[in-house]
């Protein structure tokens, strides 16, 4: 078999399929969408910030990876209103009541007995957990905006997700689904009679940002498919830590926001995490490269943004695949342990899938 034959086969195959493709007319984007809605959101946020007179200070603005691109909003790190919290996904963030905690919404496998779903208001984890390929058959009359599960499994919640529906309001009995689009993403608010009065406050607080409420850039170099290293510093000699932001990213390339979840650690928690990382052996891992699937790589990467008296330092961490795992300060790569990986996770930040021995130390649930 000559190389020419294989190359020619590829060329012939690709040319044939390309010729069979009938191009369709393309629309030319003219601007970011929903400008009026965004102006309304900005106005609402000014009211919130002015009323509270509080501005957070934990932004690493000079390290933003998207600062040169036009964005709908400059970041206004306003604190949430009293009794509310910010949640974010990619470049969209919104305020919800502080008592609403993260949980998974029922998915297509909602009929599986052992899966428990929230019975009170919650924030939906973006995306879906790993789902089972089973057919849960039941006749429904509710609008698709309410999801695949029957009404008996519904609970009020907020979800940030990619565009799936047209903007608007759908109802089913006492339930309301409110859909709003912001850039490439959508906000869905599912409410019952008790929680429907909150819809306006939630929707009007939504905004697109370059740096989210926790101080995480919505786009990071760690979204690249190759392993990235941060600007070097030495974790062992870093100045005293005041707080830290944990930023979890999907490795979907760096052309679009990939922030999958974020959370803030206060001084005590941040110092515990720092100690747990420093206690781990230098050398990285645990890796098992012989088990790697050819052409595949991990789904997620962390940036730990340390806030110190001498400024902000970014540490990268990989902890979901068969190679490249470790906490990296650009000088040393330290091993992922059960302790330090658990301290990374909480709130919106969780690892739900992975491969290799690191999964046993890191996977949530």
């Amino acid at each position: 078999m000559s190389e020419d034959r294989a190359e020619r086969a590829f060329r012939d195959a690709l040319a044939k399929r390309a010729e069979e493709t009938t191009p369709k007319p393309l629309d030319v984007p003219t601007r970011r969408r929903t400008p009026r809605l965004m102006l309304a959101a900005a106005a609402a946020l000014l009211v919130v910030a002015g009323g509270l007179g509080i501005l957070q200070s934990m932004r690493g603005g000079e390290q933003s990876q998207v600062a040169t691109d036009p964005q709908p909003h400059e970041t206004d790190p306003a604190a949430p209103a009293a009794g509310w919290q910010w949640i974010s996904w990619r470049d969209l963030e919104v305020q919800v009541p502080a008592e609403w905690q993260y949980a998974f919404s029922p998915a297509n496998d909602w009929c599986v007995d052992h899966i428990e779903y929230p019975d009170g208001p919650y924030v939906a984890f973006p995306g879906t957990r790993i789902t089972m390929m089973i057919a849960c058959e039941e006749e429904f009359t509710h609008p698709a905006e309410f999801g695949p599960a029957p009404e008996r499994l519904w609970a009020p919640h907020v979800a940030l997700h990619e565009r799936q529906f047209d903007d608007g309001v759908a109802t089913h009995g006492d339930w309301t689904a409110t859909i709003r689009t912001f850039g490439d993403l959508q906000l869905t608010v599912i409410t019952d009679a008790d929680t429907t009065p909150l819809v306006d406050s939630i929707v009007e607080s939504a905004r697109q940002v370059q740096v989210d409420h926790a101080g995480c850039d919505v786009t990071s170099p760690v979204q690249a498919t190759d392993i990235q290293r941060p600007d070097p510093f030495d974790l062992a000699t870093m100045a005293e830590v005041d707080q830290a932001a944990i930023c979890l990213y999907n490795r979907i390339g760096t052309e679009q926001p990939g922030l999958a979840g974020s959370r803030t650690l206060g001084q005590a928690e941040a110092r515990e995490l720092l100690a747990a990382v420093l206690e781990a052996p230098v050398g990285g891992g645990p890796d098992e490269p012989e088990s790697c699937l050819e052409g595949s790589y991990g789904d997620t990467a962390f940036v730990v943004r340390w806030h110190t008296g001498e400024g902000v330092r970014d540490m990268y961490a990989y902890a979901d695949w068969c190679f490249g795992n470790g906490f990296d300060d650009g000088t040393n790569l330290r091993e992922v342990t059960w302790e330090n990986c658990r301290m990374l996770q909480g709130g919106a930040v969780h690892l739900w899938a992975g491969a290799g021995p690191v999964s046993g130390r890191c996977l949530a649930g």
Partner: protein, 199 residues
């Protein structure tokens, strides 16, 4: 919420952008948007062919999404001459994202009750080009894109690496592994033809 509810996605995407009315664009001074429109008109068809080759998703949707991402950055992309690479990379990344979502599905049905798939010789009775295309369909998206960029777009390995945002060695590895696999299959097909039918 919303897991698996994607049937309105294409409609939403399509309705998210509006067409340019060229009659309202003043010829001077030239704006990035005019240049972008011209570029889309010139390259749109080729980009859809590329999208068709690297992904099983709807090519026009992939290109439309990539254009939406390119537009806010257009001035820089045009000035740096990297627009084509950027849009191609966006198309490949969208393909990768879709593939990664799909592979997360975990089958739990009892496999013993499923009809057994017939393992056919992938090259049996097919022409070389058809064997090659079937192999393309099996490749992970980034490797498939590397093959398309090499053998359809005739790019160098350095250009492929730039487009895919990977080291040149990775681009070479993608292409050479695909070629090796195809050679084996074509060799096997040739041996089958010489040796007669399996039956």
């Amino acid at each position: 919420m919303c897991g698996g509810l994607q049937r309105n996605a294409a409609r939403s995407r399509t309705s998210s952008v509006s067409s340019v009315n060229l009659g309202t664009v003043h010829p001077k001074p030239r704006t990035p948007q005019v240049d972008f429109s011209e570029w889309v008109a010139a390259r749109g068809a080729a980009l859809q062919r590329f999208a068709r080759l690297v992904s099983d998703q709807e090519a026009a949707d992939l290109v439309q999404e990539a254009l939406s991402r390119a537009y806010p950055r257009w001035q820089k992309l045009a000035e740096s001459g990297s627009a084509e690479a950027y849009v191609r990379r966006s198309i490949v990344n969208a393909s990768v994202s879709a593939w990664r979502k799909d592979r997360r599905l975990v089958a739990v049905a009892d496999p013993s009750v499923l009809p057994h798939a017939v393992q056919e010789d992938p090259a049996s009775g097919l022409g070389d080009a058809e064997v090659a295309w079937r192999l393309c369909l099996e490749l992970p998206p980034q490797q498939r894109a590397a093959v398309v960029l090499r053998f359809y777009e005739d790019l160098s390995f350095a250009q492929i690496a730039e487009t895919l945002d990977c080291p040149e060695s990775t681009a070479r590895s993608h292409v050479h592994r695909a070629l090796s696999t195809l050679r084996r299959r074509l060799d096997a097909a040739g041996a089958d033809e010489l040796g007669g039918s399996h039956e």
